[in-house]
């Protein structure tokens, strides 16, 4: 049931937001089709800015457009945004607290064949370290659409983490609220906290665990910053052990965010599914998820380790 990539959902959401609000403008650097900004650019040519292959200037221009009263969405590959233009994001956007939306596609190992340089695995660590920023990683196309529409309607700097590959629709048809985690599967033995492509893998792992008599709760943590502290602390308290799953480096990602929270509020055994200080490589998305232990099997193994540590 492969449906839609999060970048495609973003493209739909952007066109929808543009329809609803004339202040919405979009920028990209020669990646109209790859980032799916194309639909917006065709529909609203006067509100589309071609930045050329110059991401630093694209982000600075987005800041300027926000000052001019626009709601700019700047889109590129995660490898270039935030990686190449982090200084612009930090000073011109975050320190200025401007209403700029950044959309990074091709994040994670599921970017696939393009290989290590293109598979951005450090963006969450960068972006969640910035004051004022909201950081969102939707799990499927429909959730990406909703997140984009929501981002357009709320003032402040926001970062959307998107992927290249089509993923199953797992987020359901409920409302999307920035900062509110969604429990997709109830369970009481272990809480699996995932986002992005890892949500579908976590749901599959929960099924396999159920067959072994383990009741796993699956939480879609689409907003990494601000964290939905209550949902997470409650899950840790009720399940007694936690697994985090993300298509990102271990350092500074979702696992780190959850560990920071639980260490202070509810110390709980945590097992983290993440890339362990390695760069990606060329391959098919499914092969890479398996190789880096990010597939459902990897999450299942982590859940069993977490259970063994539960007091």
């Amino acid at each position: 049931m492969l449906e839609e990539s999060t970048r495609e959902g973003f493209g739909r959401g952007l066109a929808e937001a543009g329809e609803a609000d004339a202040r919405v403008v979009a920028l990209t650097g020669d990646l109209n089709d790859s980032t799916k900004v194309e639909a917006f650019a065709k529909k609203f040519p006067g509100r589309f800015v071609q930045a050329g292959i110059a991401e630093q200037n694209m982000v600075a221009m987005a800041a300027g457009l926000a000052i001019a009263g626009k709601v700019p969405f700047a889109a590129s590959f995660g490898a270039f945004l935030p990686a190449r233009c982090f200084d612009q994001i930090r000073v011109s956007v975050a320190l200025s607290n401007l209403n700029v939306k950044l959309a990074a596609t091709h994040c994670g190992v599921t970017t696939g064949e393009d290989g290590a340089n293109a598979q951005m695995l450090e963006d969450i660590a960068l972006m969640r370290s910035l004051p004022n920023f909201t950081v969102i990683a939707p799990c499927d196309g429909e959730e990406a659409r909703k997140a984009t529409v929501a981002a357009a309607s709320i003032a402040g700097p926001m970062y959307l983490r998107l992927g290249r590959e089509r993923v199953p629709h797992v987020s359901g048809n409920g409302a999307f609220t920035i900062g509110k985690a969604v429990t997709l599967h109830e369970g009481s033995d272990v809480a699996i906290i995932a986002n992005g492509v890892e949500v579908a893998q976590a749901l599959e792992a929960a099924k396999a665990l159920a067959a072994k008599g383990v009741s796993a709760r699956v939480i879609n943590l689409h907003t990494i910053k601000p964290l939905d502290e209550n949902t997470l602390v409650k899950a840790a308290a009720q399940c007694g052990c936690v697994v985090t799953a993300e298509e990102h480096q271990l350092q500074g990602g979702v696992g780190s965010a959850v560990a920071e929270l639980l260490a202070e509020r509810r110390p709980t055994p945590i097992e983290m599914v993440a890339v362990r200080s390695k760069f990606g490589e060329s391959g098919k998305p499914a092969e890479l998820l398996k190789k880096f232990g990010l597939d459902a099997k990897g999450i299942e193994r982590a859940a069993l380790r977490a259970l063994a540590r539960r007091k």
């Binding site: 221009m61 457009l65 200025s96």
Partner: protein, 270 residues
Amino acid sequence: MLEKLRQAAREMRVAVVKMTTAAGSGHPGGSLGIADVFAALYLGGVLKFKPGDARWKGRDYFVLSNGHLNPAWYAALAQAKCIPERELTTLRQLGSRLQGHPVRGTLPQVEVSTGSLGQGIGVAVGIALGMKMERLPNRVYCSMGDGELEEGSCWEAFAAASHYKLDNLTIFIDRNGLQQNGRTEGIMTLEPLAERLSSFGLNVINADGHDFTQILAAFKKARATKGKPSAIIFKTTMGKGVSFMQAKHEWHGKALSQTQAAEALKELAQ
């Protein structure tokens, strides 16, 4: 008019020395060098603004891309009655609106946080683009340092400004030929600067940054230019007005001692 500007620039230089000495740090050299240009910008009828209403919709936008020159800018804002004179000596102190580099959300006149070189110019291009989209008449002024031009992002911004024919944008460059560690030409060659800028599609205007007639004429010429953005190269002297600071790169980012400040103020009073 010219005498009024001369007097204002003199008072701004006095303020720069007092502010940075009180703070014990800051960038007095470049601030003294740009004082005449900022005086002309704010008091010579160049920039449109309302002293009591920083976010007035009809204003021209000002971006200090070389954010470290904010002592001179704050002094100009005080001369233009945008902020109280007495606030100047709070520069760089805890809780002050006058942060070490401009931060949006402190002074309402700060459109964007700057201080990391090569960014403000891209922001200025974005504002100018936004004005064009809405066919608004507001102009955008962007102050830049010459050493700042070593940042590649400046040239990305120039390319975009030219591509989008932003004739509502006036860039002006403080060409004092010095940066923190020495001469710009010794650190990273900028010349032929005018040719470089003009090859990027900018309308280049050269002027003496200490001659008010030339400064005002340059801004006027930029405003009258259609179809392309303008870049004014203001030839200036770092530390202008204080003999022992003049044309010395050592005064880029160092405050004066109390004794030196007393000597500088004596000189500026003459």
